[in-house]
């Protein structure tokens, strides 16, 4: 009898805590989702419905043609192709360089390691805008303006990624390294066969950050290119914004299709991404 009562009490308590937990989570999710839902419903509104005194969630008549108009306002097919090409290339090359550099800073011993690492970190303190014009001149001298070279090569090294990976590598027990070396494993082989598989969450985080950063990059692309054939999606988004007013409905439609690939990528890699941030103690 007593056992049954206890069991029952336990079940009630469990259900209540569950309900509370889900309630809070659902509320949180709703708050996070709201801007995106607003973006999507706004993308099918008529222009005069964008500015109403009272909140109107859904358009009276869905303006699906907004997507067509937005798509045709700029050469988005080319922009999408470029954005994908550049983001994937930059991400792939960068993760190789970063893991090599991070490995050296985390596990290898060499002269001036700490000073060098501090110097690396120091470059993170300089805002990118300051270096824009000198970098542009460099690109001109290389003859890289208006080519994929300028859009890819300078971005294949990222101090932030090296830093993030180094911190993660440091958390892997050093005994593992020593044991592997004693067993005759080479240093590079250790990185590839032991370190990297153990660091999947951190690698995914680095790759996602890079992909998103490259996908959203605007000023660099605009300055380094002169032809639509070389430009990317964010440049296309500026077509809807001007100094005297904006076409919000088209902008929302374009933002929706510009964001879709990143959203899909995030959903696919969600688990690793969150783990990566949680374990390294860093937030985006």
């Amino acid at each position: 009898m007593l056992a049954e009562q206890q069991m029952w009490r336990y079940r009630v308590r469990k259900t209540v805590t569950r309900a509370l937990l889900y309630g809070v989570l659902l509320a949180g999710a709703a708050i996070m989702m709201l801007p995106f839902i607003w973006m999507i419903t706004s993308s099918i509104k008529a222009p005069h419905e964008m500015t109403l005194k009272t909140i109107q969630w859904l358009p009276k008549v869905p303006q699906w043609q907004n997507y067509k108009i937005a798509w045709e306002a700029a050469p988005f097919d080319i922009y999408f192709k470029n954005s994908f090409l550049i983001a994937f290339t930059v991400m792939s090359i960068e993760v190789i360089f970063s893991s090599l550099a991070a490995y050296a800073f985390a596990k290898l011993r060499f002269f001036g390691k700490n000073v060098l690492f501090l110097l690396f970190l120091g470059t993170m303190m300089i805002p990118g805008e300051v270096m824009l014009i000198p970098n542009y001149i460099t690109m001109v001298n290389f003859g890289w303006v208006d080519t994929y070279w300028a859009l890819i090569v300078p971005w294949t090294i990222s101090v932030f990624s090296i830093f993030l990976l180094r911190q993660f590598f440091l958390s892997i027990p050093h005994e593992l390294f020593e044991a592997a070396i004693l067993d005759g494993c080479g240093k590079l082989k250790y990185l590839v066969t032991v370190m990297l598989p153990l660091s999947k969450p951190a690698l995914v985080t680095v790759m996602l950050f890079k992909f998103i950063g490259s996908w959203n990059s605007f000023l660099w692309v605009l300055i380094m290119t002169n032809t639509p054939a070389m430009r990317t999606i964010p440049v296309g988004l500026t077509y809807f914004v001007s100094d005297v007013g904006s076409y919000y409905n088209y902008l929302m439609a374009a933002s929706t299709f510009a964001m879709a690939p990143i959203l899909i990528l995030f959903l696919l890699l969600q688990k690793q991404f969150i783990q990566g941030i949680a374990r390294t103690g860093l937030k985006g």
């Binding site: 964008m50 001109v140 500026t238 077509y239 001007s242 007013g245």
Partner: protein
Amino acid sequence: MRSKRLVLLTLVFCLLLSGTALAQTHITFWHAMSGELGNAIDYLTAEFNAQNPDIVVESIYQGRYGDLNTKLVASLSAKTTPTIAQVYENWTDSFFRHGVIAPLANYMDLTEAEFNDYIEVFRGMNTWDGELYTIPYNKSNWVMFYNADLIPNPPKTLDEFLQVSKEITEKTGGATRGFGMRPTLELFHAFLYINGGDFLDEDLNVTFNSPEGVKALETMIGMLDDGSALLIDGYENEAFGDSMIAMYIGSSAGMPHVENSVGDKFQFSTAPIPAGVRPGAPFMGTNIALFDSATEEEKYAAGKFVKFLTNTENTVYFAIKTGYLPVTYSGLNSAEYKQFLADNPHKAAVANLDAFGYGYWQPTIAAWEEARGVIGQAVERVFLGEPIDIVLDEAQMLVEEAIEDMLSQRY
């Protein structure tokens, strides 16, 4: 023998043809026009290229004005400037002081009649050292947009304007305020000018810290205090389309956006900015500059292109497509443009011919880039409740410093 000669002749002819094809002059035009505006430029560029097989013009969108300016500055230091570009007057002044632009009008083969056809106000804004250095291109003016359902007869004087603003607020119980404003440099300029003041005098002395300036700011603040005006966050056309305000003063270039926000919710129209002790119509927008790094051949090709862009037919085409103004008298007076205005009565004030008589513009000095930031901030501080005299004193000091810096620099 004869056939051989024929072959030879054909060969020579082919060579000549390819020779002329090789001699094409390539020029680039950097602009900040996107959407419909960009399409209009692309269309005119394609027309020009088709008519001039010896010249290839490439029109390139370089982002918004701020981005375009960054890109021009970068290209100047890397020596990769375009042949021509859209520029604001204060950029022109900076380029002029650095000696990196050439007087465009000298390469356009203009007759005296053609020269004088450019509207006088615009010529004034584009003259450096007595020469027409840049050519007006997308020029707009500031007008008053008003809700014609609520205001059948727009106010003509400042007193009437204040009266009407108050009445609208009272009549609608505050649901619709008479006037909507943002704390901007441009709006301050509008009130300052109709009070008889201006930012600087001809010798670059600061004149906005004056009774006229104080009165302008007091009028603006007063309208907020007694509820006849609403402080707007964002673009005015949105609050206007939503009937939160019945009038606002803004750029004629915003016309398509106003049409969008208003839809068929009510009738709206435009009127000149109400006159205070004097009338005043502020003119804005950009011009086309020619960079000195181009070869003589490229400069003449660019001149030909700009002449084409601003000829009567094309300036009218651009004006109708975009809401900017024709830049020539012949454009303003063309049958096509007049018909366009007759068909769109709500745009009449935009091309109000009288306004050209009392047009004014912001200072065209290089230091203005900094000064306009200072004055804009001063207006914001006044709107936040800081005392007008102290704010204006400080702004005067900072603007004077910026001008002195500019004058003392050697280029």
